[in-house]
Amino acid sequence: MSGVPNRAGFPPPPTPPRKGEGNPVAPVARTRYPKWVDSDLMYSFTRSKLVVAAALLTALMVGAAFLAPLIAPHDPYDLKTLDLLNADLPPAWVGRGEARFLLGTDDQGRDILSTILYGTRVSLLIGLCSVLLAIGLGVTLGLWAGYAGGRIDSFIMRIADVQLTFPAILTALLIDGVALAIFKNYRLEGGKFWVLVISIGLAYWVQYARTVRGVTLVERNKEYVEAARLIGLRPVKIMFQHILPNVLSPVLVIATINLALAIITEATLSFLGVGLSPTEPSLGTMIQVGNRYLFSGSWWMVAFPGLTLAMLALAVNLLGDWLRDALNPKLR
């Protein structure tokens, strides 16, 4: 804390109560949570230029993606504006490129820049939804396993162990494949979004469950939990209102790194042809389509979506790494 320049507008931060010391009745301390985030985290944040750059890049890409309908020069979903005569144009600064298609066009005459903006939006949405699903499932099961102990604990953790034997991408692929097999007789245009979200979410819950269980095992023997039990609160309330806030910082770290993984997984599944269909552009489907035209020299169809995906993953990964060091949670 000492020597931190106080940023304009913030009252001097109170001394942050650290976990495990001071007042064990955490609820009192927790009301000050947002303020110490401002002080402690912001300090380590502003110290690293790389992290600030990563955060700016992430903010820029997320912002651009969600404002896509407002800022994109064309609407890739609007079939009326597509013209096959515009197909396969290179970026504006190359040969026969045109200024209205800054990054060129794809095989159907869609503007690459606009499609990237819309595609990033789809990729981010799938990533966010699947991370939320993984958090919900993993945290609930982890809390339950850690708090209940005994048979429930070993049952849940056994499932986690079995699933951990396999890489997440394989699990996602398998769930995706099964869902496609079940629904192959139905037309699934919008539904594929949720198939992807569920496949990816179910593939990544294990790490949350294991971490949360570990912390819960420690927390449940503390006095505040005992006190809550003594005044007759129901276990669900103790788990979610009393223990949960104390396990959130490792969950936040895992979630950030998980987001990068989820975006990559979505792109991979779409690239493999078992994700979204090319009419719903995501970064993965764009790369898949572009890959077919690589040999005819149309490098821009792959290069720009690929670059976007790589930068997004790199930036979010950097943020996650920094968050892990800054929060220094009990992740070993």
Binding site: V162, F166, I169, T268, N291, G306, L314
Partner: protein, 325 residues
């Protein structure tokens, strides 16, 4: 040691049975096997007859027992898509995946250890920084993008390496190998690098971290004091002690390599099991999916088991712990 091995073996069997149950449920309930076998104009009696012949009227546990018994004998039924026995399809593609995975693992381990040792010893040199930056990129870039990038540079642009397929393969009885022909070896380079890059960065970072740790210890200082040459200290004393975690990680990553081979094989159209699996998923070819799932699960469980045993052999601390339990 024996008790430890038996306990691990029992756990492995439980995992395999769980996976077998999932595969069975897939096989039995997701697609209707009868629909896939008969034509459109089969009568209801024909269908009922086939159902009885296939034993689909038996109670589920009997069917499951039969499924497991068949799986143990490597019988997984007929592919819906290709109308061939799944076992023959796998036998055809297995060597391609194994050769690719081993080449990737070799690339990852050899280069990863070298880079790890170098960055561990010369931590401030510019080359170390380049290595670490490359490894950060390697971790962030998705496998398929790396593949596309390599294809663009080496096949489209420089035109020196093939971009798809396995080259010429030589038949050695039951094993078709691509390692004996020049075109086969050339075709192996790009897929192996693509597949192994992530593991290489992992090994690099791990070896580097372990080297930094070990180089600080007293026995290294003592070795220096004895006047041993740098090479003997770095490779004979330091590297040797970093290898325990490295072996574990490599063993476990071998499974990941097999899983990620799906992506690499798709990018390079490598005729292995991963490509077969992806085509099965795209066409809802359940018998192939079930067989692949069981086979990969078996591979993973086997690798985990072996890694555990090696670990116990190498690290005496675990042996003592195991004896106490």
């Amino acid at each position: 040691m024996l008790a430890f091995a038996i306990r691990r073996l029992l756990e492995a069997i439980v995992v395999m049975l769980t996976v077998a149950l999932i595969a069975f449920a897939l096989f039995r309930y997701v697609g209707d096997p009868v629909n896939q076998m008969v034509g459109q104009d089969a009568t209801l009696e024909d269908r009922a007859q086939i159902r009885r012949d296939l034993g689909l009227e038996d109670p589920p546990y009997a069917q499951f027992a039969r499924f497991v018994a068949n799986a143990v004998r490597f019988e997984f039924g007929i592919s819906y898509q290709f109308k061939q026995p799944v076992t023959a399809m796998i036998a055809d593609r297995f060597p391609a995946t194994v050769e690719l995975a081993l080449a990737a693992a070799l690339f990852a381990v050899a280069l990863g250890i070298l880079m790890g040792v170098y960055t561990g010893i010369y931590r401030d040199s510019w080359l170390s920084k380049v290595f670490l930056a490359v490894s950060l990129v390697g971790i962030s870039l998705p496998t398929f993008l790396i593949g596309i990038l390599l294809i663009y540079v080496f096949s489209v642009w420089l035109n020196v390496l093939p971009s798809f397929g396995r080259g010429e393969a030589v038949n050695l009885g039951f094993w078709r190998t691509g390692l004996l022909t020049a075109s086969g070896l050339k075709a192996l380079i790009l897929p192996a690098i693509t597949l192994g890059l992530f593991q290489m960065t992992l090994v690099t970072r791990l070896v580097r971290a372990e080297m930094l740790e070990v180089l600080r210890t007293d026995y290294i200082k003592f070795a220096r004091a004895r006047g041993l040459p740098e090479r003997a200290i770095n490779f004979g004393h330091a590297l040797k002690n970093t290898l325990v975690p490295v072996i574990t990680v490599i063993g476990l990553q071998l499974g990941a390599i097999v899983a990620f081979a799906i992506i690499t094989e798709t990018v390079f159209q490598w005729p292995g099991m991963g490509l077969m699996f992806i085509q099965a998923v795209q066409h809802a070819d359940i018998p192939v999916m079930a067989a692949y799932l069981l086979l990969v699960a078996f591979l993973f469980v086997l690798i985990n088991f072996i890694v555990d045993l090696i670990y116990v052999r190498i690290d005496p601390r675990i042996r003592i712990l195991g004896r106490g339990a």
